[in-house]
Amino acid sequence: MKLATQQKALALVFSLGLVAGCSSTGGTAEDGSDDSDVSAVDQEGGSTVYGGDDEDGVSSADMTEEERREAEARAERAEEEAMREITTFYFDFDTAEIKSEAREVLVAHARYLQANPDQDVRIEGHADERGTKEYNLALGERRANAVERFLVVNGASRSQTETISYGEEKPAVDGSDESAWAQNRRVELVFQ
C-alpha cells in the first residue's frame, strides 16, 4: 500500500518535472487548505494552468490574473504535497551526499516545516551492514546531519529538527546483496 502511494507520488513528481518550467515560481508554499488531492490533480491534468504562458494568453484569456495565480499556487501545493509522501532518501556507499533527485523533495519538506513551525521532524540516519558498526554509526549521523543542514538552509528551523543515527542496526530490508544494501543506506524523516 505504502509503496504504491510512493510510486504514484514519484510518478506525479516526474510528470510535474516535465512541465514545471513555467509553474515553479520559487515562492513559498502557503499552508495548504488541505483541499483534496483529486481536484488538485485534475487541475494539473488540464492544460489551463500550464498552457497559459506558452500560448501567449490565448487559452487563459477567460481567467483573471488572480485566478491564474491561485490555480498555479494550488498546483504547486499539490506537487509539494505529493513530493512530501517521500520521506526516505538514499545514499551511495560510504557517502553522505544528497542525491540530486532528493533535493526537490527535501525542499518541499523544508517549506512545509517553515510553514508549520509547530511541526517537528526526527531525522534518522542509517548505513548498510558492510564495514564496522561504530564507523557506520558515525556515517549514519553524517547522513542525518547532511539532510538536517539541507532542510535548515531551505527554510526549516533547527528547533524543529532532531537527528539520530542507528548505524547498521535497523536495516529497512534484510539481506546481504547490493539491492538490500542500497535500500538500507538511507535517511528517514519521521514527522512527530
Partner: protein, 444 residues
Amino acid sequence: MMGTQMTNRTNTGTRLPAVAWLLMIAVMVGSSPASAELLIRITEGADSAIPVAVVPFAESGDMPSGDKISSIVQDDLTMTGEFRPLPAEKMLSLPSKGDEVYYRDWRLLGQRYVLVGQLTRKGDRIEARYELFDVNREERVMGATASSSVNSTRSLAHHISDRVYEAITGVPGAFSTKLAYVTLERAGGKPRYRLQVSDVDGKRARVRLESEEPILSPAWSPDAKKLAYVSFETGKPAIYIHELSSGDRTRVADYRGLNSAPAWSEDGRSLLVTLSKDGNAEIYKLDIESRSLKRLTNHWSIDTEPTWDHTGEGFFFTSDRSGGPQIYHKATEDAEPRRITFGSRYNARPRPDNDGKYVYYVHQRDKAFHIARTDLRTEEETVLTRTESDESPSLAPNGRMLIYATKQGGDSVLTVIAADGGAAYSLPASQGDVREPAWSPIAR
C-alpha cells in the same frame, strides 16, 4: 573458588609450527534465552597440530554430573587449533599418575604429550591432581593440584587447560577468560538485543542486559569485572558502565549526538569515547570519576573506534580524513596522527596486541570485508580470514587467538582464529545473530 599449588614445572617454551589448517565447528544454542549456550562441534581437523593424549582422569568419590573435567580440557586444547587430541578408545592404557605412564606405548601412538590426572571429592570440593609428560624426552613437564567447588568444575577444567597450554607453548592460556557478545533475535516483530557473557567455549552464558533497542560495543575493564557499552535503551545512544557482580549500571556519557565506541585505559580510570556533541564524530578521553572530558581529535572527518596502544600513552583510531576510513595512530594524546593502513580503501576498527607488534582491523579487499593485521615494524599487511563479511575483531589476552563476527548463511556468527590466521572454531546462535564479541582480559 580455586586453589592451586604447583610442583616441578618445567617451561619448555616450545615454539609451535604455524597453524596451517582449518577446524570448522558448528554450534547450537539452548532453547532458554537466559541460558543460551553456544555449543561447539568440531567438523574438521588437520595434521600439523601437536598430538596430545588427554587421558580420562581417574575419579574417587561422588562426582558432579555433566561434562567430565578431562574432556573439557581436551576440548579447550583442541579448539585452539594447535593440538590434536587422541580419542580415548585408541589409548592402550589409561594411566592416572606418573608411574603408570609407559612412554613406549604413547610413542607408538604418535603422541607428543600425555596428560593424566586424578579427581578426588573432598566435602563440597573437587580436587584435581594432574601431570603432563613429554613423550619424546621421556620426562615430566609439570605436575600440580587444583581444586574448585563441586558447582564450578568447568572453572577447574579451564584452569588446568591454562596451565597445560602454558607448559607446552610458553604462553599463558586464555581458557579461564570470558567472552562478552550481543545476540539479536527478530522473531515475532520486536527485536531482542541481549548482552551476554560466557566462557570462551560458549558455555555458561548469562544474559546481562536485554533491550528492544540496539546494544553495541561491549568493552571489558582491565580487571575483567566491568563492561562499558553503548545502549539505545532511552531511544538514543548512551555509554554505560556495568558492574558484572552486582549488576549496577552507571550512564557515563549521554551527550547530544553520538556516544559510542568506549575503550578502557589500562588503569581503569578513564574511557576513550566517540562523541559528536561538538559537531561531528571526535575522540575524547572521559574521566570516569569526575566525568571530565579531554578532546583528543579535531577534524571535520569522522574520527572513531579509539583504542589505547600497548604503551598506554598513545592510541589507534579510525578516521576518514583521507577520503575513506583508515587506521591512524597518535603516539601521545597530543601528537600528530600518523596513518597506518594504505592497502585498500577501507580499513577500520583497530585492535592492537599487547606488545606493540601488530594491529588488527577490518579490511576491505575487492568487495569483501576481512580481518587483517599490519606488522607495525615492517608495515607488512596480512589478510587473516577467508570469510567475507567480517567485523569486530577482538584479541585474546594472550595474543594467540582472535574472535570476530562474520556472516554464515545470512546469520551473524562468531568465529575464533589463530592470531596468525588459521581458522579455529565458530559460535553461531541457532536463533538470530551473535555479534560484537569482546574477549576479556585475564582476571586479576
